[in-house]
């Protein structure tokens, strides 16, 4: 066993075709989302650029919305917004959740009880109800969407990190470090944190897909991204009115949302299988 470990890992990842599919899709969507505004895909703001509710045509590959705007750049903008909001929220969840989870798992006692109870309370709140609350307090928009997504994904993440931290804290190298005089901080940062990263990454990938769902739900209710900005959820909202007349206004963002969530989940599954393979003894 040498650098062969990394090589073997890479080889296994490449063999997982579904994971590769997920990764590929994700890359395409991310590129569109990030670089979309700079690509010559059309102007998402030009009202009346084409016929109102125009069907997909050569000039407008995804048709036109109710104000005659080119739908393709609108959808691309939507991808970007959905990803951006969800990612920011997930980053917040990651930082806060890791800190709280490790503290709860390693320090135990009162700290653990406190954090666990708070997580339980948050867990009990349905995300969309929280969304209404946040919108009422902060006002609807991107910020409240980020707050809601973060709050909704935090409890499960803290739980998982807490339980993994607990098991790592009991491992012999961590105890040996304590015997050698290591401070609590050192054990948490040097020993526990690097060894929970695998579990954290897996959980974060699922949190991202949940986050996108929540964001879309909030925007669909009008609580998330506000016009004229678009997210996939708000596009669904605006388009749902014209479902019978111009179904592509709903079908296209819906399909894209489904693809985005599926790609994140596929990739997350692949990473999970990589880091925690099920080594079973199957009889032949």
């Amino acid at each position: 066993m040498s650098q062969g470990i990394r090589g073997a890992t890479l080889r296994r990842l490449l063999r997982d075709r579904l994971g590769l599919l997920g990764a590929g899709l994700l890359v395409v969507l991310l590129v569109l989302g990030v670089f979309g505004p700079y690509l010559p895909l059309g102007d998402p703001t030009a009202i009346g650029a084409g016929p109102r509710l125009g069907p997909p045509s050569a000039a407008f590959p995804m048709g036109n919305d109710e104000l005659g705007r080119d739908y393709l750049p609108r959808v691309v903008q939507g991808i970007g917004a959905t990803f951006l909001l969800s990612s920011i929220a997930v980053v917040i969840t990651a930082l806060l959740g890791t800190l709280l989870g490790i503290a709860a798992g390693y320090l135990g006692g009162v700290t653990d009880s406190l954090i666990a109870r708070i997580a339980d309370v948050l867990f009990a709140f349905p995300a969309l109800l929280f969304g209404l609350l946040a919108a009422a307090v902060i006002g609807p928009g991107s910020v409240s969407a980020i707050v809601v997504i973060s709050t909704a994904t935090l409890p499960l993440f803290v739980r998982v990190i807490r339980s993994v931290s607990l098991s790592v804290a009991g491992r012999e190298f961590a105890v040996a470090s304590v015997v050698a005089g290591a401070s609590v901080w050192r054990v948490m940062v040097v020993h526990i944190l690097p060894n929970i990263l695998g579990a954290a990454i897996i959980q974060l990938s699922y949190a991202l897909s949940i986050g996108m769902l929540i964001e879309s739900g909030l925007s669909f209710l009008g609580l998330g991204v506000q016009p004229p900005d678009a997210s996939l959820g708000s596009l669904l909202r605006l388009g749902s009115v014209y479902l019978t007349v111009s179904p592509w206004l709903v079908l296209i963002p819906g399909l894209v949302l489904a693809l985005a969530i599926m790609s994140v989940n596929l990739l997350g599954d692949a990473i999970r299988d990589l880091l925690e393979p099920l080594r079973g003894r199957a009889l032949r």
């Binding site: 066993m1 040498s2 470990i5 491992r171 012999e172 190298f173 961590a174 105890v175 040996a176 470090s177 304590v178 015997v179 050698a180 005089g181 290591a182 401070s183 050192r186 040097v190 020993h191 690097p194 060894n195």
Partner: protein, 254 residues
Amino acid sequence: MSAPAPVIAMRGIAVAYRTGPAWRRTLVPAVDGVDLDVEAGETVGLVGESGSGKTTLGRVALGLIRPTRGSFLFEGAAFDPRVRRQGALAVVFQHPEWALNPRLRCVTSIGEPLRIQGQGDSAERARKVQALLAEVGLDPALAQRYPGELSGGQRQRMAIARALITRPRFIVFDEAVSALDVSVQSQILNLILGLQQQHRFAALFISHDLAATRYVAHRIAVMRSGRFVEVAPARKFYERPDHAYSQALYASIA
């Protein structure tokens, strides 16, 4: 001139765990009244089965668990966790796969106790690590590897190197050879013998294996259900121990 105080002096140590639901708490004694001294240069073997309390006693000796009753003196004074930062204590555990942090290079893991002490810079630490690897019979080049690239025996040697690097006065070997193959086990047992003769640390060798323990220990305490049933020189366990339980253990290796 009076003899120096033993490195470890325990009197009447008892450790009890609380179990059961909140309205019906019971106290389960893991260690039930134990006296033990370990002198410098001496290895005391602690033999017993899982559930005998030997692991708990080992943790008390490292200051990781506070006993419910009894006194624990380290070098004549009440145990103060701050002696850990002096590098006075060390431990070698059972499982080679968890002995070292898999995310750190061996040189970092082995040098960590020095880093905690705040001594020297990284170059000096690396030098000490190399010296120690030679002492435990490892190729110094292995320092740059990750634990996952080493065999079980090599990892245990690394763990022993880390245990020695601060020249501790007391080392606990907690089932340190139990997970090793026969041929590797004998290498590690010989290593422990040699290192102790050279460095004169006090040691507690915890094991369920009487054969391995009597080879390295000067005295052996046989533990059962939280109590010592017999404490005798190791030589006695080559002939015939006194207590019935010790005899049963002896019979299984005869």
